[in-house]
């Protein structure tokens, strides 16, 4: 029973990682850049909901909508200002700029919302599920996160593989010049990718803060990194992979903490990651790409 409980704890944590990783992997897979600022967009989403709900007393639904709009606009702006000028530069330059953006968002949030943490009010009102006479509890937030991540996986997969815009994204991810020659507007496609990715970050922010309700300017940083790990674990650019990777990372982290060593739980997660990548060098769901000689 204890094991089951622990496992469910792991899935709860993992489902949050999964939602974050989905936004990560989209931008990562299409724009081919490690958007290290993704975690900070999550934080902005959290503050947006908080401001709307607590400061302005809006209803949760309205607040969520507001957060999605804020993050989407933010994502598009960041892309335009910081990443677009580097379209032709090396991916490392963009990575460093993303780090700059991450610092920027964190410090901007610090100036606006000050240093004291805020407690987030959960936007989820799904009742918790109690099993085995209350021995095992599945929180409403967990249910919400799992449902959300499944919905996102399905929706994104359908979108990318079956719509014109989605195919444009795939083409852009492979070869920007060739994509232009197909009549694809590379800039607007990348903007769209960022818009969706940032909208997903807002959703992730709400779920993250609903489950773990303290909110500071660095709230998004560590989950962002963990989600990055999850995205790679699942296979870069693979949408179902991001979800699976997220959940597995959560489960390993919690099992490691419960059964091996709480202090070394993170080390264990990373060790498992390394082992898996040794066996499967492109992640769990990653496609093995053979370069034709």
């Amino acid at each position: 029973m204890a094991f089951l409980e622990t496992l469910i704890n792991g899935i709860s944590l993992g489902s949050i990682y999964a939602v974050i990783a989905l936004g990560y992997t989209l931008v990562y897979g299409i724009a081919k850049m490690l958007n290290f600022a993704h975690g900070d967009v999550i934080m902005v989403g959290g503050y947006a909901v908080f401001t709307a709900m607590v400061t302005w007393n809006w209803s949760p639904w309205l607040a969520m909508l507001f957060a999605v709009v804020v993050c989407t606009l933010l994502g598009i702006t960041i892309e335009k200002v910081a990443y677009k000028p580097l379209r032709k530069a090396s991916s490392l330059s963009v990575l460093i700029t993303a780090i700059g953006v991450s610092y920027f968002l964190q410090n901007m949030a610090l100036l606006i919302f000050k240093e004291k943490p805020k407690v987030f009010t959960s936007v989820v009102n799904i009742p918790k599920i109690t099993l085995f006479d209350g021995k095992v509890v599945i929180k409403g937030e967990t249910t919400a996160a799992i449902i959300t991540s499944v919905v996102i996986v399905v929706a994104l997969s359908l979108f990318i593989n079956h719509t014109q815009k989605g195919r444009a994204m795939l083409a852009v991810s492979e070869d920007k010049d060739a994509a232009q020659l197909m009549g694809i507007n590379v800039n607007s496609t990348i903007s769209l990718t960022f818009a969706i990715g940032s909208g997903l970050a807002a959703v992730a922010g709400m779920l993250l803060c609903s489950s773990y309700p303290t909110l500071t300017n660095t709230t998004g940083a560590m989950p962002g990194i963990k989600a990055f790990v999850a995205a790679v674990f699942g296979g870069i650019g693979s949408i179902p992979g991001a979800m699976i990777g997220g959940i597995l990372i959560g489960v390993i982290e919690i099992l490691g903490r419960a059964y091996i060593s709480p202090q070394l739980a993170d080390a264990i997660v990373f060790a498992v990651l390394i082992l898996v990548l040794m066996v499967k060098p492109t992640g769990i769901m990653g496609k093995k790409i053979n370069e034709k000689v």
């Binding site: 014109q164 195919r167 492979e174 010049d177 060739a178 232009q180 020659l181 009549g183 790409i289 034709k292």
Partner: protein, 236 residues
């Protein structure tokens, strides 16, 4: 009025001057050949026309409209398709996905389906391999895919960068036949070729490019008999 007019086009790569003011024109329905040695600037010219490179000065006019600063994706919509050097197919997508992307600017589902069939007819090998990941095609197969993909946008002008490169002799002849049939269907062709003899034999007019300048131009049938051209590009 010419369909496509290039005037005094200059293009630089950093400090390297690749094009030093070239002027030429392409009329509707023509096949124009652009020939020249390695590094003469042929590819650069095509890239600039289709918007992948920015001109430093000069102008490109399509149907009387200046498109010098128009972004590449809009130029496609205006009716120019590009078969790029090095094929530039989408390596990790399937052959069929590549072909479909060629029709990205089109909305007519039925028309697209028909044109896919046409492409398959032109290149039966592509139909056999439609689910293969494009990156694993042989060199020649990739070239066919690049051609087929470009035709999917129903262009009024196709610019082709060395379409015969890497093709077997039988296919080279076929490609030139295809170019001619494309022209017969009313599409204009701007052709860059190393295989100058074949190119001149199907072209209406031709320009000879040397280190970023046009040094010779005229009717293809005249150039093919020009001594200097013969010596420099036909290997005779």
């Amino acid at each position: 009025m010419a369909m496509l007019e290039i005037k005094d086009l200059c293009v630089n790569y950093g400090v390297i001057k690749a094009l030093k003011g070239i002027t030429f024109e392409v009329n509707e329905g023509e096949v124009i050949a652009l020939i020249g040695a390695n590094g003469a600037g042929k590819t650069t010219t095509l890239h600039t026309i289709t918007g992948l490179l920015n001109a430093r000065s000069g102008s490109i006019v399509l149907d009387g409209k200046d498109i010098t600063k128009t972004p590449a994706h809009k130029i496609v919509k205006m009716g120019i398709a590009h078969v790029p050097e090095g094929r530039r197919i989408f390596q990790n997508l399937t052959v069929l996905d590549n072909i479909r992307l060629g029709a990205f600017t089109r909305k007519d589902k039925d028309g697209i389906a028909q044109d896919i069939e046409k492409v398959y007819k032109l290149f039966p090998r592509l139909e056999e391999r439609k689910t293969q990941i494009a990156g694993t095609l042989s060199g020649g197969e990739q070239q066919m895919l690049a051609m087929g993909r470009a035709l999917m946008s129903k262009p009024r002008i196709v610019v082709m960068d060395e379409p015969s490169m890497g093709l077997s002799p039988i296919l080279v002849s076929e490609i030139f036949d295809i170019i001619q049939s494309i022209r017969q269907q009313g599409t204009t062709v701007l052709l860059v070729e190393q295989n100058a003899k074949k190119a001149l034999s199907i072209a209406d007019r031709a320009y000879v490019l040397e280190t970023g300048k046009i040094v010779l131009s005229g009717k293809a049938s005249d150039l093919i008999n020009d001594e200097s051209v013969k010596k420099a590009y036909l290997g005779e």
